[in-house]
């Protein structure tokens, strides 16, 4: 992709947001689904971890997934980029549609899917390489070798991850010398470097201090202009602060999925209400 076309797509995405800001609820929203799961089931061996999940995620939304430990929220988000299959005993049924294609289709390789759907993990997991090499890793793996382009990609990704100014003089230091919060933003930059459509975040701030958490949350709000974000969080305030829609998972089911303000202020289900008001979980 040339830099010009990238700007174009960004503009198109921005227009999309403008045109859909008034579309408050899930129903009267004409944006496309970026992901939609249809009767999705997942087993770890005999353990039926996800049961009949039907969820739609809109483009350029921050969609939060909340729920108590062991409810399947992490498993679900890892299913979206098929990372869950790294566990050998996993079995799935049903469909997950990513932009009109079933991600389990034979012709749709995991590598292709993961190139479009980036991921940020619970614990910052930079490679034990320099900051530059970390961010350049994705483009390099996909065959981009020109130093000039890599330099630009590294700079723009770090800028997008709001960490360029902090790190521009330290690009060749090992990423492990950074603080946890900086490492996590470098990991976000690393994911942005291949310009995915969607960024999955699996409890991205659970290992971070409050100030770093706020920085990552601000970053997410910035990023949604150009990316769709699906974030798993155990922190309900975080879901309330950053997300447009929230899905509440409980014991492998989706109990409720709605606009975030509905989930937090006027939930339909008693269990959702108990959970968001802190009565359990």
């Amino acid at each position: 992709m040339t830099p010009d076309t990238k700007i174009e797509t960004k503009n198109i995405k921005k227009q999309n947001i403008v045109s859909s800001t008034d579309a408050g609820t899930l129903s009267n929203d004409n944006r496309k689904n970026v992901f939609s799961s249809k009767n999705f089931n997942l087993w770890y061996g005999d353990n039926h971890a996800l049961q009949d999940i039907n969820l739609d995620f809109k483009e350029n939304d921050i969609s939060a997934i909340i729920g108590p430990s062991g409810c399947g929220k992490s498993t679900f988000v890892k299913s979206l980029n098929r990372m869950v299959e790294l566990v050998p005993i996993v079995r799935t049924e049903g469909q997950i549609i990513y932009k009109d294609r079933d991600i389990f289709e034979k012709s749709f390789t995991k590598e292709e899917l993961r190139t479009k759907v980036g991921m940020v993990f619970q614990k910052p997991n930079p490679f034990p390489k320099s900051i530059y090499d970390n961010v350049a890793y994705g483009p390099r793996v996909h065959g981009i070798k020109k130093k000039k382009i890599l330099d630009e990609v590294v700079e723009s990704s770090l800028r997008d991850a709001a960490i360029w100014d902090e790190l521009k003089d330290r690009l060749h230091e090992n990423a492990y010398g950074l603080s946890g919060g900086q490492q996590q933003r470098v990991c976000i930059a690393r994911a942005l470097a291949i310009e995915p459509d969607v960024i999955l975040m699996d409890e991205p701030t659970s290992a971070l201090d409050p100030i770093s958490t706020i920085k990552v949350e601000d970053l997410m709000k910035e990023l949604k202009k150009n990316y769709s974000i699906i974030v798993v969080t155990h922190n309900m305030q975080q879901a309330a602060r950053v997300s447009d829609t929230t899905a509440f998972f409980y014991e492998g089911y989706v109990v409720e999925h709605d606009d975030t303000n509905v989930i937090f202020e006027n939930p339909n289900d008693k269990r959702t209400e108990d959970y968001v008001s802190g009565r359990f979980g």
Binding site: L86, K110, Y137, Y176, A191
Partner: protein
């Protein structure tokens, strides 16, 4: 239930004075035990050095470390160590070329590709391979590998460098595989996930993330294995011959430093002769090389350690 005992009283009764004395003696005893290995090392070094000094009184040091002719038995005796070093190096290089790719390949398979079941079967087998007595490898070299090599490559002599070189390689494969596998499997899973998460394939992840992260352990395994190959004695004594020469020829007979030492100590060399003292000079040279390899290994572990 009535209680007809009191645990505190029993404890008091059992607490004799003698146990206190033992408690105090134990560290001293353990210290003495620890000292034995250190004292042994110091004693060996002392004997190597002092006897070598006697050797260098008779044969000029400069002739020893620059000479390429090793003819201790001839009328005009020559003690040029490079003839023996070149023998050792030919074996070590063949062994390393043979063992490093295979050992690393096995480590990659075990750490990244094999299922748990397969790993549980293969790893113990590798460790058995590491426990085979080297004299058995020696016979394997001369009775099995050498005939095969001679049937496909007619220039190979009965005693040669390539057959024992390959077999020394086979001997050090388990060491490389096992140590490299440990290094690779201790790379955190999260790091691999970071790579898969960007659409990297398994092989890309292995070569671009796992191996670089484990490189210090892998390099250390190479160096330790090479150090082991330098010191290897039985295989080369049996299959490489006893004809020291300074060359790069891998098809004809040679002698390594270790094989020379075996030849002299098992023969009827008289105490106090030049040949007798040359043993210590060769031993010291051998020690120098293995010591150097160990230092390199420590340096590599520090220099290339990637913190994670």
């Amino acid at each position: 239930m009535t209680k007809n005992y009191n645990v505190q009283e029993m404890i008091d009764k059992n607490k004799s004075n003698s146990s206190n004395t033992i408690e105090k003696l134990i560290p001293t005893i353990l210290f003495l035990i620890t000292s034995i290995s250190i004292l042994a090392t110091i004693a060996i070094l002392y004997i190597l050095a002092s006897e070598s000094i006697e050797f260098f009184r008779r044969i000029p040091f400069i002739d020893f470390i620059t000479g390429t002719d090793w003819r201790p038995y001839s009328g005009d005796a020559q003690y040029g160590i490079w003839a023996l070093i070149s023998g050792t190096f030919r074996i070590v290089i063949i062994a390393a070329i043979f063992a490093m790719p295979i050992g690393l390949g096995a480590a990659i398979y075990l750490s990244e590709y094999s299922s748990d079941t397969i790993r549980r079967i293969i790893k113990p087998i590798l460790e058995v391979l590491a426990g085979v007595p080297t004299v058995v490898y020696g016979y394997f070299a001369i009775n099995f590998v050498t005939p095969i090599l001679r049937s496909i490559w007619s220039e190979v002599d009965l005693f040669n460098a390539i057959s024992p070189g390959i077999v020394v390689g086979i001997m050090i494969i388990p060491m490389i595989a096992s140590l490299s596998e440990d290094a690779m499997s201790s790379v955190p899973r999260a790091m691999r996930e970071g790579s898969y998460g960007m659409g990297a394939t398994k092989i890309e992840t292995t070569f671009k993330v796992v191996i670089p992260a484990a490189i210090s352990g892998i390099m250390a395994s190479f160096v330790l294995a090479i150090s082991r190959a330098i010191g290897e004695t039985m295989i080369v004594s049996i299959a490489a011959g006893s004809n020291p020469n300074f060359s790069l020829d891998i098809t004809s007979t040679l002698q390594t430093m270790t094989a020379f030492i075996v030849q002299i100590t098992s023969g009827d060399t008289a105490f106090g002769t030049d040949i007798y003292y040359s043993l210590y000079a060769v031993g010291l040279t051998l020690f120098f090389f293995t010591f150097l390899m160990n230092m390199i290994s420590i340096w590599i572990s520090k220099r290339f350690r990637e913190e994670y």
